[in-house]
Symmetry: C2
Subunit: 272 residues, 2 copies
């Protein structure tokens, strides 16, 4: 196979298999090419992906050596995306009764969701994460987008147990804003003991739901490595029960009378 063809095929392979370690002999055999030629191909791909702020190829030398694609997002690409997101969210037509914001269109757009996932995954790329966890329903697409980049599975916490998931562990927790007692359930099979977990959700007010997930993880002796949300509302900062988290945007001053919303960058910029 010619270099030009190999470059297309290899680029496709790496983008489809992020954070997956592949040996150089595998590629040599697949393409019927010398190891030195493959190495040159990899250098080209690495250079272009880095220049575009998409990630880089990590090469390990030696007998167990090989290469894996580490997805990244340049500070520039991340900031540009967050600026677009802020503009989209500041549309007054999004204001719903109770000062909530309509975000279902954003969470329903697979391209947007994948971008959000990339920003969060980039912030967590240096951490050892075994699994991404979220609670049904709205955080689910974001959790998959993050997990796809980190090449780890997703577990979904539910409000109600289901027969199709076998036996479960459940906890009661107090919702931060409404002060109501609620229940969360996770199937026993879905999480190993001592797993390193990244919690993802779409929105955080006081943080009661996320705090509930942290408590549930305690029952599995799991370690919370990171918490990531698309948006945080800062109007309840005094009551916040979650301290360390990463957010893309911070929503303030949802003013139903003036029909305005202020959306600021979240603290993700501090991690980049």
């Amino acid at each position: 196979m010619k270099r030009s063809d190999r470059l297309v095929s290899l680029t496709h392979y790496f983008l489809e298999n992020p954070k997956y370690h592949t040996s150089l002999p595998y590629f040599s055999e697949k393409y019927g090419a010398a190891k030195s030629s493959i190495s040159e191909d990899l250098a080209i791909i690495d250079r272009v992906l880095q220049a575009e702020g998409t990630g880089h190829l990590q090469t390990l030398p030696g007998a167990s050596g090989g290469v894996s694609f580490v997805p990244e997002l340049s500070r520039e690409n991340g900031s540009k995306f967050i600026a677009e997101l802020r503009e989209t969210l500041e549309d007054p037509a999004r204001i719903l009764p109770g000062g909530y914001l309509y975000m279902s269109d954003i969470l329903g757009d697979p391209k947007m969701v994948n971008q959000i996932g990339r920003v969060l995954a980039a912030a967590f790329s240096g951490l050892a994460i075994d699994v991404v966890m979220t609670v049904a329903t709205k955080g689910i697409p974001l959790a998959y987008a993050v997990a796809a980049v980190l090449n780890v599975p997703v577990v979904i916490v539910r409000r109600d147990p289901r027969v199709t998931e076998g036996s479960s562990v459940s906890i009661n927790y107090v919702s931060g804003s409404s002060r109501k007692i609620q229940t969360m359930v996770l199937p026993k099979r879905s999480l190993q003991e001592n797993a390193n977990v990244c919690i993802i959700d779409d929105f955080m007010k006081a943080g009661g739901t996320i705090n509930g997930m942290v408590s549930l993880l305690g029952e599995f002796n799991a370690n919370v490595q990171a918490i990531g949300v698309l948006a945080e509302a800062d109007d309840e900062e005094d009551e916040r029960v979650v301290e360390h988290y990463t957010s893309l945007v911070k929503i303030t001053n949802v003013d139903m009378k003036q029909n305005t919303i202020d959306v600021h960058p979240g603290n993700v910029a501090d991690y980049q």
Copy 2:
């Protein structure tokens, strides 16, 4: 920029933007290359992606001309994936009380989910689809995987309305297997009138839930273009209320005494 670099960058661009039409002058300007050079690049990419059974580049000539990447899945790749899926599902440890199968690990694996999405999207690639619809919770990752390939948004039907989604349309329907009356809700904002919809879910027994979604779509004057499920159970075929659908696998004879399961290919092969 050299051809080798352009090939990496272009391959990345097309895989990130499936079914998105881009003009040739855009690429000429981006890479500072002649239109003829770009055309040669596109021919190479098209040839490699076709040879790998991943899809092809569709080129439209003329003033409004340009190119888009049409993701596909070769019959060979699809059959291979379904064979692996059958083997994974036939593990007797998956049998749960009531003859249900544990599938959360498969639905929790982003790579697996994206593959399932590709098989279903390939079956529907000739149809005009504006939006993918599913019902919370388990079908959500599959719906996003299909929608990402088709480059369309996702709408999620819920069992309960939420204040964060504004006003909604709800229907009552009879669950196929349990014969219970249940409710389904879709926010008014989430679907345009006369939309062409593809319904996706993880599992279908009698089809009551999917039939409920079809009724709900009637309230929006939407057109059901396709119905796709990961698995169908054939033990209730007599009672099935949904006729036209596409499935990846068909689960039969979940025998709790013998501790065996039979998993056959679904009818997706007929569409490929």
